[in-house]
Amino acid sequence: MGAQLRELRQRIRSVESIKKITRAQELIATSRIARAQQYAEAARPYSRALVTAMEAAAERARLDNPLLEGVEEPRRSAVLVVTSDGGFAGAYSANVIRQSEALSGLLRDQGQETVPYVVGKKGVTWFRFRGRELGGDYQGFTGKPSYADARRIADDLLEAINTPTEEGGVDEIHIVSTHFRNMVTQEVRARRLFPIMVEEVPDELYHAEAGAVRGDAESQSAPAASASSSNGRGERSEVLPLYEFEPSADEVLDALLPQYAGNLVYTALLDAAASEWAARRRAMKNATDNAGELQETLTRQSNSARQAEITQEISEIVGGADALAAAGSE
């Protein structure tokens, strides 16, 4: 067998095994998307009930909590960046990082410092490589986040926002993560988590959502069922019942806010996990398709190389026979 043919066959075999691997990854990712969506679905009753409770409590409680009332001139912001641990997911992490850089630039233009809190190995490596100081790094769960992971992140963020800015605390918390619209569309979103806001912000970076309560004073008298809906609140428009608070509205709100923060982070992580798997599925599907094409091209090449070899052998034999015949007749 000729050297060229042998080399082609080797390449076909290796492309074939790569294709098997990417195909398997694609199938795994497909099943993980479904699972991530199930988790997101399971977390929904909690979000819904929590938001209703928040609206009720915020209507009646004082609003001097840093999570509700922003400061006049925020000086430092925490930015939670949700990337992935693993690669093989196309531009998933890169897109999030790009958006977070854009947001940080915007905040810096407003005279704020930014402190990144990064989820996912890819993001952590990216920030570390550039020598950025991280407020926190969280790794090892992006494909399948648990509530305990979200709780840990939320606790760190809350501690930062409850610390005075002079002592290294932050005034605002932002999050940049990927939203799972459907199997083919996932979009990177930047939102402000705290202080909670509900009205649309003109900045194009913000897709208005996040937050359940209005932080400003005049909204106290208004019915709290506000329009912009992320957690299935849209359908509800009746005025909230007059709750009796046990022990008091302030205490209830103080205890609700950390749970609410945990829930926000958790839903963002779940949304990001579904998006991550979707991005991975797409990347792996493309890789599988490419491997298939390459395999076809290589097979054609090897076929023609084989044919060329046969033709050459035949012409050698014929040539040899002719030569022998010529020698015998003399």
């Binding site: 977390a43 909690y46 009930a49 929590l50 509530y147 046990e246 022990p247 509205a249 209830v252 749970q259």
Partner: protein
Amino acid sequence: MAEELNVEVVAADRQVWSGTASIVIARTPEGEIGIMPGHEPVLGLLVAGAVTVRSTSGEAVVVAVSGGFLSVSENHIAILAEQAELAGEIDTAEAEAELAAAEDDGEGARRWAQARLDVASSR
């Protein structure tokens, strides 16, 4: 019975139990609270411990909660806890081990482990 309560017990990552009930008994920082149909709207804190739901079919559903909230309005009760587990789901031996392990994990973890164990052993 004309009236019944629609109850849902939800943990942060799943719905633990939902159904109709005749009475719900929970513990707030100020003591036990029992809620029957027609109760006024309440939004209350819960402490780590057991929540008992007497369902309309007569069975008593006991849930261990790590603390959280109780919201009552128009015969709808939502119990929101970061962690919640049905009594039947808790493995007593495992809960004991977790209580021992939670000793150094701070107050919240210890109370939750204690609540689970109490609920499991009261089965």
